[in-house]
Point group: D2
Chain length 343, copies 4
């Protein structure tokens, strides 16, 4: 059945599967010390324009968020995030399992409210100075997602403001890029990869949702962040056959494949969006990326669900529901045409 319920329902881009099959019976060195990983690291450094970047490959998103945050924080330090941020609501306490508090910040459409953040840090700093820092969780990092869990984007100006706040208050800026391609490849995005690699202290390229079987590529740009191989192993996050990650990211980062397939996903989402609007569906969030959110009449939804898988977010009222439709690197023109035929 046609389904747009999430963006990780398919395996991997066929070029990746072919590449894995090609080398399947070769004898490889384990734990990410193989030439494919090295190649992928180099391609990523070049794409970022940061020869000094450290690059690590991990398997999944929760694991990546956990390892990065554990590398950034010590003891009584915590990480700020939108109350709707993935680490605050969708990790089953994996961050806290490493001993770290997530400090929820007001947010709008998935984005941290920058004014509220600035005010929070000013007030908190005054309070800590007055009462004594030892009584508090000290904010030491800021987590944002690009695009956010609600498909929205920070502008370059907003990212720069966040960078300034981080500089002022000694915070690491960590950008969760589980859907990075679907953000940076969006026509509406004015942030480039190189901008990001200058502004963030650490970010990652999501593979799981953007063309890989699995895998996230973490790019560490600030040497104060001790994201070591020992920490990765310590958190159970070191893949024995690490070359599986290297091959995937080397393939994705070659000839712009990552960006091409991401762009396709966004374009398909924008077609879908326009078709929905044309048919009279109501946008819930005006998202410029691969996730589209609508408010839909429950009767219409029931009909739609007979032919199309959708993601139910929550009821708005007795007769309307918020739904999400996602495209991915694997979404085809035919699938969108097919969907439009059901609207």
């Amino acid at each position: 059945m046609l389904s747009f319920s999430c963006d990780y329902m398919e395996g991997a881009h066929p070029a990746i599967l072919r590449r894995l099959a090609d080398i399947n019976l070769d004898k490889n060195t384990g734990y990410g010390l193989d030439p494919y990983c090295e190649q992928a690291r180099q391609l990523i450094r070049e794409a970022c324009g940061r020869d000094d970047a450290q690059v690590h490959f991990l398997v999944g998103g929760t694991q990546t968020n956990t390892v990065v945050i554990d590398a950034m924080l010590r003891h009584n330090e915590g990480i700020l995030a939108a109350t709707t941020g993935h680490i605050n609501v969708h990790e089953a306490g994996a961050i806290e399992a490493c001993g770290h508090k997530v400090i929820g910040m007001p947010s709008q459409l998935g984005k941290v409210d920058i004014d509220a953040l600035e005010q929070h840090m000013a007030l908190a700093t005054a309070e800590f100075n007055a009462v004594g820092w030892e009584h508090y969780v000290i904010p030491r990092a800021l987590y944002i997602s690009l695009p956010t869990e609600l498909g929205t984007l920070y502008t370059l100006a907003e990212l720069r403001r966040l960078r300034d706040i981080c500089d002022k208050y000694n915070l690491f800026l960590f950008v969760d890029g589980a859907r990075l391609g679907y953000g940076l490849a969006a026509p509406a995005c004015d942030v480039t990869l190189r901008d990001l690699a200058q502004l963030a202290d650490v970010f990652y390229f999501g593979g799981t949702k953007v063309g890989a079987l699995f895998g996230e590529a973490v790019v560490v740009l600030n040497k104060e962040i001790r994201l070591t191989r020992g920490l990765i192993k310590h958190r159970g996050a070191m893949l024995a056959k690490g070359w599986l990650l290297g091959v995937q990211f080397a393939t994705l980062m070659t000839d712009g494949l990552y960006w091409d397939i991401a762009r396709n996903a966004v374009n398909q989402a924008l077609r879908l969006r326009q078709a929905m609007i044309d048919k009279g569906y109501q946008l819930y969030i005006d998202s410029p990326t691969n996730q589209q959110f609508f408010v839909i009449d429950n009767d219409r939804l029931a009909v739609l669900q007979q032919s199309v898988g959708v993601d139910i977010i929550e009821p708005v009222d007795a007769t309307h529901t918020i739904i999400r439709l996602c495209t991915s690197w694997a979404t085809t023109d035919e699938q969108i045409d097919h969907l439009i035929s059901f609207l």
Copy 2:
């Protein structure tokens, strides 16, 4: 100098010091296995009307909150608390250090907003059922403080509502009683110790702030909570000379000393409150317990601070500040008279 800046500025009630001196050179068994602890446990059980209660003595508040919460929660479970609750803002991440998330709830004057709590649990349960419980931190306990950090009290009717919500959603109800005496002994409080011992799953008698040198007496009423001696040691919270705690609580629980000294503190606070109001000071919070909060003109504050120690909470505007004045078991009529003379 006269000071009302907090309620743990003095040592212990003289009866406690005398008792400690009396037995100072006796040879005692360590780790809380002495007869004083046993006597104190029995006195507490009797006062609570709960022969089945387990009672443990710990040294301080952060430690007690940590041990109790660690006993209640496993893995991906979390604890709900007012955003202003002590465990959410004043423990330097000690709860998270044990791997547990504190889930902030809207609050009013230090009290969990019960309607918001009920709505949160209903929505969360619906979401967990729809998406899968494994993606979330599962609320498994509710933390409240009595009185709250802002001096306010839950009514018996409110406590019963909270108990019903806890029953409905399978939550342990944990009452932080760091200032328990100053709550239950307040004339405005319609909750009795026996009510509390029926409604809560676990609570504690604060000693540090109510007449002891140090110490908190945890009362575990629900046998599902595995607060063991092994856990206490595991968290570094077992006092070698445990009888120091036993002697203190046995003294406090004998002949109603705990309640008498707590009542004195509240009465002194209410005198102070009335005098402040009479002198035209403005209440910030209408507190019926030993902590009193006022909005004060900065010029007046500057004068007052020359003679009296107060706790600065935060500025209201350019010319006014919120302050806190606390009484304690040690506050005397003379001290209040003296304060009034400065108003």
Copy 3:
């Protein structure tokens, strides 16, 4: 170059890659809730003769050991293991990162010394009873590996003795089966899968080392072990595209593929072993499984290493070294013939 340095140098059995390619663009449900996982679970339950078993699929060994141990232990409980056991020496502290102590037991050739274990438990129990259990880490589980890290096997009689000790002292018996196939498929092994599924409380089928790209299938046989989906997510161990694990294990467990390829590895190892002995090489450990250990003259080693990758364990003396040669599911007759030609 020919290499026998470890047993996870190749990708996956070709049947697995084909199967993954077949369904690559299908739309699958995430997080292990897909029909492939369900099929694999059922096949595993049947093979074990335990319809009541819970089966979970995880990505790697450290992760699996961590999640299983975290499910078994609480607070001040610990896990016994051979001092040479993987969790004691090769996990970079991942077990301790979850708060759990590994209690090292004397061992012989990778196997827990059962007499020493029994004596330890008797003495520890006496000491705990005398001094108080709260001062100690309480052993609550026993970890063994089958085959061990040194290629050796427990006999059925030994497993039964371990089971009796576990019953006597209230220990969970956890069998690390990272190389389970290479153990149970060995001609010298008198333990069957069904024996194991009766004697262990929890064990796992290693996939990473036995034919899969990655993946370990955990079989929980004791309902007291709360290995939940929530815990898996909490530890960052839930794979988004869980069907990748289901497909792999369903393929391995169909028509005995897992056992066939494991048997091949052991047979190749035994050929290699015999050839080495025939050429005058000295066994270091008499291993009946896919890992073979030799003491080799350093000059001879230098020559061998020009043509064959081997795993250096450690020097014996100035002129001799212990090496390990591993076969795997992918080892061919030709590779062994080729190796023999270099001896």
Copy 4:
């Protein structure tokens, strides 16, 4: 009844109780920011000859070991200790609860076997270099106790050897001084406080066992160890009425009281020791400090226990038992005379 079963059966030196009573109703600043703590810190720095030392006061031994170790280690780092060391066997997993592995080293009479330690570090370093450091717990600190749990002492030459090993392998040297006075004040000890303050990276003065009601004074000598007030609070180890600790240590460190009372304990122990030997009792360990260990005939033990409390360590054989007799700062000539009358 006369008892020598441990060294923390009494309250505090009377001078301490008097001092606490004197200031009982003064109004003090909390959390260790009072003048008594500052005075005690300064006295300790002077006694150590280290003006640059940071001094923190904590409540008990397990807590202190936990906080110090947590300050020294990160992630995949561990701490070496004698297998008989307190942190390895008597903390109920409190160290592991903070995520850190204790790596057991061979020991003799409570002391780390220095040759074995040196060999372990050499072999481990070689292995880590060969296989990759990320697979191991990296030793980052060495824990010793002075005197040890078995009453024995390291010589100055031994401490210097340990320092050299720590320097060579980048280990912090942490000296558990729960009984520090009973070690340094022993006639047989050739280590001075100033030696210790030059050789250790961090150590502590035990108060609980040496004259205080409770309390340990941690002396941090290496600035790389981030033992902050925030960490202390984070681990639930910050005492609200911190001045209770300051007053105690200021009293103990004034006019050599700590050393005088410690010397008394050792002298009484040596009298007891000689009397036991004279009566034909057999030493189990030749201890120069306040703990004395004997092998005793069970019949004789039964008689002795009618009049004297002793600590049973373990049976030697069917008819003999190892016992421990401890003196403390509170032991009097009369008590020893009394004991001798029962021998």
